[in-house]
Symmetry: C2
Subunit: 216 residues, 2 copies
Amino acid sequence: MTVLSSSDQTRVRLLEAAREVFSQCGFQGATVREICRRADANVAAVNYHFGSKDGLLAEALNFSALKALQSANIAADHCPEMRLRLFIKSFMLLLLDENGASRQCQMMAREMADPTPALDKIVSEAIAPLHEFLAKLIREIIGAGADEAEVRRCVYSLIGQCVFYRNSHPVLQRLRPELRYDEQEIEAIAVHIADFTLAALRIKKPAGNVSVVEQL
Amino acid sequence: MTVLSSSDQTRVRLLEAAREVFSQCGFQGATVREICRRADANVAAVNYHFGSKDGLLAEALNFSALKALQSANIAADHCPEMRLRLFIKSFMLLLLDENGASRQCQMMAREMADPTPALDKIVSEAIAPLHEFLAKLIREIIGAGADEAEVRRCVYSLIGQCVFYRNSHPVLQRLRPELRYDEQEIEAIAVHIADFTLAALRIKKPAGNVSVVEQL
DNA sequence: CAACATATCAAACGCTTGTTTGAAAGTAAA
DNA sequence: TTTACTTTCAAACAAGCGTTTGATATGTTG
């Protein structure tokens, strides 16, 4: 068992607080003072431990949850359609879980709209692999002969549907104040996106015909 | 012919510059000084003419283009499916046109991610009507008996696909540096989203069966 | 213990932000 | 021209930002 030194304790508290504030307010909106307040640390602590606000963001970013999701999905012994369903379900849980054990995806979703100094790292280390993973999965569904641009746009259609619920949360909250992202709601959303996407992908298959079995 | 007084000239220059900067940088990122610089006006001009930065945003917002799009669509003498195609095409033009005669939609797209004091107005005057318009159109396509929650999620799927290209532009630019939103690209995107969405909607029809004719 | 490196802290720094001020310039009617 | 009102402007203001500083604790090592 490794023991945390006093400085390490402050570090992890800062990182945790940073993920909280960054995911809620975005990089611009978040202030070093607010992060330090939640971490019960002095204002100077951020620059002492991470050099700068940028450095804190870079270290706060962590794509392990997203990568684990993909690894588990590849390892799963299911047909491509079912693997797409599983991906969407777990991806939406990462994006919408309000208890937020994993705020990393929410931070990423924020970065997408407002570029920050860390966007390059996010794109190359997390988003690009994610897109490739989905492109491969979609290609398994619609057939290997599919046009590259078409596959890419299908990936965009899928991701667009998913991140919409996170990016437009302030809007949706105003449209339907009773909205809560509990487990049932997230499940229902995931099922809808999966049904919607699979139906759209089905007619992209080269043959273009739909078996009755697949529709059930 | 109405003549603009000197003060009116400054007003319109400020509004134009504000739409430019707000749509590019967001409300938080935009600075009064930058807006005034582009409008060739003094820093104090914003507060003199609009009271505050918030007031400038409120007056800069203008939903006429979005409303005109919906009116024209309702008036068009086409089947629901074709009207959906037309909507997507013109909506994507509003969202992606880089020459940006109409930056209003781009401003709205920005507000969705980062709530500002003006979001309530945007939601009630522009977004809510847009969602209702789309819900009605989708109901015409999949049949009146459709579940309300299901229709709503279809609307989200459609809008999510559309705004993705705008909200994630910084990311897509890094993934594919050669990307340009010229007229051909926008047309191709619109066709994809329409095909994708109509295919997904088709299996939501009560009967659940797909005629061969519709697939062509 | 003494000596050293590490970590914390209150305070301040330099800068940018939105906003205000009071004087100057412009405009229009009497 | 005089008067009254509107619009512009340079300058400053107060507040918030990320960051730095130098002193003070804290912990570790010889």
